[in-house]
């Protein structure tokens, strides 16, 4: 292997991939990045054995070949090289060391054989489609807050992606729930996604994916099977394991016959909830909503600090209702509303409430009340 590459290009790619390499690893090869030079490009590849990020950077390949070298060390070195420098990578005679030369610097890094490097990308994908970065970002952002962190019900530790129909229109749907609240977002079904298996994308993959989306404005091509998902960006590919489980039948818990409809200014409600709940430092801050014709009275009290009350105008015509919510859950949902108004559709103080952005029909949130 022997190649020359521009420092900034190498740095950018290493920057992407080194974040998945765990700093402390008892298995040496897992600290390494795989380097594969061929066909005018240097392929870089890093993994934590659950997901893998691969990048390809155009470079001047003098001699094809592959090796692995410590990811963080390599990244640190390249980061400290002067801007605009050319970097030359090669292997020493026995292939035991990666030699990095740039200007008058020279580094020797211990290598490990390529065939010890974990193989993630093997396997075939049954479905492929393309989705815009904006759509993908929207699906992630509006659902990820509801992903469960509790590990016993592991099948809730991710976003459930599947193809279905909504009012007769085929859609690609993302759903997440932690058992207390649920978020469901859909976009028109992209070509090629019809008939795809329902999958669950793990929380960590979601976080890494979100970082990569920010750096691209292009469409993302998604390939998946029932055991793997692959996201391809411009020069970057991420492959991840999936959660091996069945997502619960969430449709069952989205109520359809709630009849108490409250419409209210989302920002006003959000600020009021935030203020009222400030009275308590408790993790389980409850905020009570007393809803009557034209008005919502928010209240909270704490054995410690006292109580708080705030009244807000709202549009409401049904019979009065009192209902309590975990204020953090409520704020999480209100934070996703981009339009002016939010609609809360309730049944009673112990049944799930449906929340929607009045201006955006693609997302629906369900929140279970808190009983005080």
């Amino acid at each position: 292997m022997q190649l020359t590459i521009e420092r900034s290009a190498l740095l950018k790619s290493l920057g992407h991939i080194q974040s998945v390499v765990e700093r402390r690893n008892t298995i040496p090869i897992l600290s390494n990045v795989k380097l594969d030079a061929r066909d005018g490009a240097l392929g870089l590849n890093a993994t934590d054995m659950d997901l893998e990020i691969a990048e390809s950077v155009g470079s001047d390949i003098a001699k094809a070949g592959a090796s692995t070298a410590p990811a963080h060390t390599l990244y640190d070195i390249v980061r400290k090289l002067p801007d605009g420098a050319q970097v030359e990578l090669s292997l020493d005679g026995e292939g035991n060391h990666l030699v990095l030369r740039s200007g008058r610097s020279r580094f020797n890094l211990a290598c490990l054989p390529v065939d010890e490097f974990p193989a993630m990308s093997a396997g075939s994908y049954t479905h492929s489609f393309s989705v815009s970065a904006a759509d993908l970002r929207g699906m992630i952002d509006r659902t990820r807050f509801a992903i469960s962190t509790e590990e016993t019900r592991y099948y809730l530790n991710g976003i459930h992606l599947h193809a279905t129909t909504s009012d007769g229109v085929p859609v690609l749907r993302a759903v997440a729930t932690d058992g207390h609240r649920l978020a469901r977002v859909e976009v028109p079904l992209p070509d090629g996604a019809a008939g795809m298996p329902g999958i669950i994308v793990p929380r960590k993959t979601v976080a890494e994916l979100r970082k990569l989306i920010d750096e691209t404005g292009m469409d993302v091509s998604v390939s998946l099977s029932d055991s793997k998902i692959r996201f391809a960006f411009d020069d970057c590919v991420m492959v991840s394991k999936l959660i091996d489980g069945t997502f619960p039948d969430y449709e069952r818990v989205i109520p359809t016959d709630n009849d108490k409809v409250l419409e209210i200014d989302a920002a006003t409600l959000g600020k009021a909830v935030d203020r009222v709940s400030a009275i308590s430092a408790e993790k389980s801050r409850a905020v009570k909503m007393a809803v009557e014709k034209g008005q919502v009275t928010l209240s909270a009290n704490s054995p410690d600090a006292g109580s708080a009350v705030e009244e807000i105008e709202a549009s409401y015509d049904a019979s009065p209702i009192e209902i309590g919510f975990n204020s953090r859950y409520l704020l999480d949902i209100l934070g996703q509303v981009e339009g002016d108004a939010v609609r809360l559709v309730m049944a009673d103080a112990s049944a799930p409430t449906v929340i929607r952005d009045v201006a955006d029909g693609s997302a629906i949130y369900v929140l279970m009340p808190m009983r005080v």
């Binding site: 408790e282 993790k283 006292g306 112990s350 009340p369 808190m370 009983r371 005080v372």
Partner: protein, 623 residues
């Protein structure tokens, strides 16, 4: 084969066996002292030299032994010979420990001199590394003297195995302490030949009429006076089991559980169940790595307990373990609740010791605190404490209670020192145990003046405790917020466990966990305590089911909530460094008086210390 390889000595078997009975000087001491107590001694004096390796001498004034008994006592397996025709008392006396003297004799130079009361002379027998000498006449007052010299001299390997003299001596002293605590009617002394290490006079006459006082006296002699002044009396009985003894105040704590002494029917035991119960009882008051000091005596029908599970480890097994655990937890808690907000004096005493000026050594170290004018009525859980509660406590039914800030907010200005509407508009500091706030120093401590002294309060620790107690009270009042589950969780259990849980469904609901039956052998969780956030409901339910099966109580849920409360109380409390006005400070003091357990924060540190006027005067050499 020449003579240099000598045949295995005849006594090897004895020596090996001795290794099990006598593994270190302390075990020899234990056997010998128990023998003395069995012999009806009213005083037992023990002398150790070089940690007992060179000499163990145990002298008692008990029944003594005649020449025949003496010879028999050092004979192995004599108990079986006696079995048919001997009087039962003797069998009991020699019974279980029949092996002890011969075992000791096989690994040491053993000499026993004894004279039964009424006999006109004493007799002596010596055993040297297993060889039994003849019984000879000797001079000795009534009673028995057993001397064990050069323990393990015949087995150098075991000798090497012993620890430093000091360590061995501590082990032996610990053994004697335990025995002394179990037998207040017997006088004990321990000496290392030059110094008296332990002296516990026999408690007779009036003291013995009040067993608690006698015991406290004895515990003071054995564990130190500090314990005697910093403990509460435990005395509860239930279903024929009685628990008595003394439990240290939570502020009087140690780094190890070493000073937890337990006696079952007079026998010192170390048992996981019992120690676990003690932990449970102190759970709210101590940090996890601190341990209370207790001496507890459990008396129950001998048939209800098996003490011979493992003689060496002194474990016991109870027929009704849940009863015993409950007895210990409730006994200690009840006693501690009675102590109200009393904090340990040791903290103040230690502090004062440091404050003492040079040359003040001849003044006795001032003894602090517990004797305030308010202390009398406040200590029993009724009395002043109840009164205080009555006018300080939130109105019944208001689960949220007036918070500290809220309470202080109602005080228009500092001229009205007490924040609450109350019978006496301007209370005399004499009536308020913690006095009137005078100043805040270093924005961390409150100084308050009482009728006869000065109280220093750690505002963060105090407030933290108040918040914690209030949270617990709120929990207890059923005011627990519950988060409904969008996806109700079905938990599979065995049928009996599910049924058991469902019979407690109401109780669990008050704690925030709502469950319903879901066919035989399963329950469905509908709501969980909001406090717990995202919780593994199935795991929680299974833990609760296990506990119900084992203890008949649902501790797991309360424990977890208490954990969360503790953390939240710590973070949600007034930080050190916040400036308080006088009204706020007084409000805090009044609430502390009204709140049980306010003498220490959740981590077991004291929330306040008291300096009495007399002590302050001593500091300045005025007294």
């Amino acid at each position: 084969m020449t003579g240099t390889i000598r045949p295995l000595p005849e006594t090897l078997v004895n020596r090996i066996a001795a290794g099990e009975v006598v593994e270190r000087p302390a075990s020899a001491v234990k056997e010998l002292v128990e023998n003395a107590i069995d012999a009806g001694a009213s005083r037992v004096d023990v002398t150790l030299s070089h940690g007992g390796k060179a000499l163990i001498a145990v002298v008692d004034d008990g029944r003594g032994m005649g020449p025949d008994d003496l010879a028999l006592a050092v004979e192995r397996h004599c108990t079986s010979k006696l079995a048919d025709d001997a009087d039962l008392t003797d069998i009991r006396t020699l019974g279980f420990r029949g092996e002890a003297l011969p075992s000791i004799g096989s690994v040491a130079r053993l000499a026993i001199t004894s004279r039964p009361p009424g006999a006109d002379q004493a007799w002596r027998i010596a055993v040297e590394a297993g060889r039994v000498g003849a019984v000879e006449p000797a001079a000795h007052p009534p009673g028995t003297r057993v001397e064990v010299r050069d323990l393990f001299h015949a087995t150098p390997a075991r000798l090497k195995f012993l620890k430093a003299d000091r360590t061995e001596q501590n082990h032996a002293a610990d053994t004697i302490k335990r025995l002394a605590m179990a037998h207040p009617e017997v006088a004990f002394s321990l000496s290392d030949g030059t110094r008296t290490l332990l002296k516990a006079p026999a408690l007779t006459g009036g003291l013995l009429d009040d067993p608690h006082a006698a015991r406290r006296e004895r515990l003071g002699a054995v564990l130190g006076r500090e314990f005697a002044t910093n403990c509460v009396t435990v005395d509860v009985d239930r279903e024929g089991a009685r628990l008595t003894g003394h439990a240290g105040l939570p502020t009087f704590h140690k780094a190890t559980a070493q000073d937890q002494f337990l006696f079952v029917n007079g026998r010192p035991v170390r048992d996981r169940l019992l120690h676990g119960a003690i932990r449970g009882a102190y759970q709210d008051f101590l940090a996890r790595d601190r341990h209370p000091v207790v001496a507890l005596y459990l008396d129950l029908d001998p048939a209800a307990v098996d003490v011979n599970v493992h003689p060496a480890k002194t474990e016991v097994r109870f027929r009704d373990a849940a009863l015993v655990r409950g007895l210990i937890v409730s006994g200690i808690r009840h006693a501690l609740a009675g102590a109200g907000h009393r904090a340990s004096t040791t903290v103040a005493a230690g502090l004062l010791g440091r404050a003492r000026p040079e040359g003040a050594e001849d003044h006795p170290a001032p003894r602090l605190a517990l004797g305030g004018s308010w202390r009398g009525p406040a200590r029993p859980s009724s009395g002043a404490l109840e009164t205080a509660r009555a006018w300080q406590a939130p109105p019944a039914g208001d689960t949220n209670g007036p918070g500290f800030a809220e309470a202080s907010a109602r005080v228009p200005d500092a001229a009205t020192p007490s924040p609450e509407p109350q019978p006496e508009p301007d209370p005399d500091p004499a009536d308020t145990p913690l006095g009137r706030a005078r100043a805040q120093v270093h924005t961390t401590y409150i100084l308050a003046e009482t009728t006869d002294g000065l109280v220093i309060v750690d505002q963060h620790a105090a407030h933290e405790r108040l918040v914690y107690e209030r949270m617990k009270a709120a929990l207890a009042d059923g005011g627990i917020a519950r988060q409904g589950l969008l996806l109700p969780e079905v938990v599979e259990l065995d049928e009996a466990a599910a049924a058991r849980l469902l019979t407690r469904a109401d109780e669990l609901a008050t704690l925030g966990l709502v469950i319903e039956g879901f066919g035989p052998g399963a329950v469905v969780v509908r709501e969980v305590p909001a406090l717990l956030g995202q919780v593994d409901a199935a795991g929680l339910v299974r833990d609760l089911a296990d506990e119900l099966a084992e203890w008949g109580q649902t501790l797991a849920l309360k424990d977890r909530m208490a954990d969360v409360c503790g953390t939240m109380a710590c973070h949600g409390s007034v930080r050190a460094g916040r400036r308080l006005n006088e009204a706020e400070m007084n409000a805090l003091l009044r609430q502390m008086e009204a709140t049980p357990h306010s003498g220490q924060c959740n981590h077991g540190r004291p929330t306040y210390v008291e300096l009495r006027l007399a002590d302050i005067e001593r500091l300045f050499g005025r007294r």
